[in-house]
Amino acid sequence: MGKPSKEKMIEMYRAMVKIRKTEQKLMEVFSNGEILGFLHVSIGQEAAPVGICSHLTEADYIATTHRGHGHAIAKGIDLKMAMAELFGKKAGYCLGRSGSMHLADKSRGIMGANGIVGAGIPIATGAAFAAKYKKTDQVAVATFGEGATGEGAFHEALNFAAIKKLPIVYLCENNGWAEFSPMSIHAPVQSVTKRALAYDIPAVSVANDVLEIYEEAGKAVERARKGEGPTLIEVRSERWYGHYVGDAQKYRGKENVAQAMAKDCLLNFEKGLLESKVLKKQDIEKINTDLDAEIEEAVRFARECPYPEVSEMMEGLYL
């Protein structure tokens, strides 16, 4: 597998910037009160979703988490419809019924973010089961945090997938924090890879580096497609901001936050692309301004769309 092509790297860079900028915009409109409920951003963690989704087609599946905007964007979700959902508008993917924690796009295999920690892991495993059952070459990905690996759902899913050699990649973004608790409080191991040992699932831990993730993800996806079974990848990612927007992180030293921000997966990738002359300064500026415009347009669209009617609330419960 190895390194991505030049075109692929530009695409990956673009996706990472798109995630970063979209979430920065979301923080702004959330603070305005234009988005309700809870908002969990993944700023600082953009490398993982892009690293894995670069190997997936629209037919492949992904089930994500409460911190799931990045995966949805990396899997190609339509930004306007996603933004409309976040704004609670009828034009949104879920008809404005569900918001940030439930972004889903069936047409692109996005099986939904999830408000229940760990719940997406067996659901993605079910998608892998369906792919194997129907003898397609589709692959499923479950993404989750290190906190989720304390849930039974994680263990039950890995056990089953290993027994049946299902085509799935378990992608754990270990950002070191589960809400307000460091991993030392809730796990006897400091690397999630050790958890995979019990299920005889090959596991690897990689830095918050999109090219490293790309390489390991490539091997894992290929393994899955060839019917060789599941792989677990742990990405040692960094959470810059609070658990949710508005969390002042009083439980976390300023130094810890500064260290996290210093490991900026986006900036590092950008530097590398400039050094290796894959991109020039002007290219980067253009990508950034184009994305600003795209995101602005999505927000404008979401703002202007109507809310669902109260009279529509009772629709769609059963088919």
């Binding site: 008809l95 889903a104 067996p122 998608a127 089961f129 759902a153 089953f160 027994i163 769609g316």
Partner: protein
């Protein structure tokens, strides 16, 4: 027509639907090699193989959510939960995921899944192997809840449940597994959401489901000797339940007893009683009586006193006959 036991009627329903649609598969503990803890899948492993009769680790949450994922990717899983009590281990899967996937994701996904489980006493199996928890599921928007009282019903209802595009909680009863009944040789379906008047009568309506339907029929026999004519309505589906049939019957008899094996408090009978009070109270000539188990965990040694039966239904009918407004 042919005679068949309830448990084999379940098997026939699954087998026929698996023959008809290759996307239907069965998943659960001991369903494959062992043929099911109660024998519901006997022979199916040999016929369909391990890809479609899927033995699982002991992991109710894991395999129920897995089935949900598979259902949203185009398959039609039948999940077997060995005892209804064990469904408590997969409440996230059923309540937060399966029940909500369609609505929550803006109708993008349908989750055609059937989750079968036997409830009730009868084996002296005690507090953690005898519960009737149907009301929990009936309380969650997005699920359908079906209960079958005899071999004919269980086959026709299960086939419909498998074809339904919505998640169905399909509740069997352990004491009914051995029950014999006669069913047609040819294929038939029983619609979900329709009640069945199992016996016509004019004095009192007894609304019930599952095993208590049969107990209510016994009570009706006993009461007919005392000159009381009981109409027995089998809900068959608890959610969504058939108001029309229930209300029509009450408009005829003007008296109502609701009977289930689950504990009386907050059981499905409470919902029916409340709906009747809200909508057709003026049809009633007497207070509504409820039959259900006492509000304690199921008893091991005293099970026969714990589980409600025909005598309890009879008492409730007599009580409502005595108390004309």
């Amino acid at each position: 027509m042919k005679d068949i036991r309830y448990i084999f009627a379940i098997k026939e329903a699954m087998e026929e639907e698996m023959d008809r649609d290759e996307n239907v598969f069965l998943i659960g503990e001991d369903v494959g090699l062992a043929g099911g803890s109660f024998g519901a899948s006997k022979g199916l492993y040999e016929k369909f193989g391990p890809d479609r009769i899927v033995d699982t680790p002991i992991s109710e949450l894991g395999f129920t959510s897995l089935a949900a994922g598979a259902a949203s990717c185009g398959l039609r899983p039948i999940v077997e939960i060995m005892f209804m009590d064990f469904v408590t281990c997969c409440m996230d899967s059923i309540v937060n995921q399966i029940a909500k996937m369609r609505y929550m994701f803006g109708n993008q996904y349908t989750v055609p899944i059937v989750i079968r489980m036997p409830e009730g006493g009868g084996l002296n199996a005690g507090p953690q192997h005898s519960q009737c928890l149907e009301a929990w599921f009936a309380h969650v928007p997005g699920l359908k809840v079906v209960m079958a009282a005899n071999p004919y019903d269980v086959k026709g209802l299960l086939k419909s449940a498998i074809r339904d595009e919505n998640p169905v909680i399909f509740i069997e009863n352990k004491t009914l597994h051995a029950m014999k009944g006669s069913i047609p040789e040819e294929e038939y379906l029983i619609p979900i959401g329709k009640a069945d008047v199992k016996r016509e009568g004019t004095d009192v309506t007894v609304v019930s489901a599952s095993r208590l339907v049969n107990e209510s029929l016994k009570a009706a026999d006993l009461l007919s000797k005392e000159g009381i004519s009981v109409e027995v309505v089998d809900l068959r589906t608890i959610q969504p339940w058939d108001r029309e049939t229930v209300f029509t019957s009450i408009a005829k008899t003007h008296r109502l007893v609701v009977a289930h094996e689950a504990v009386k408090q907050f059981g499905f009978g409470a919902e029916i009683a409340a709906a009747v009070a809200e909508e057709i109270l003026d049809e009633l000539d007497a207070p509504i009586m409820r039959v259900g188990a006492p509000f304690v965990p199921a008893s091991y040694s005293l099970e026969k006193y714990y589980v409600p039966g025909a005598e309890d239904v009879k008492k409730a009918v007599l009580a409502t006959m005595e108390r004309t407004f």
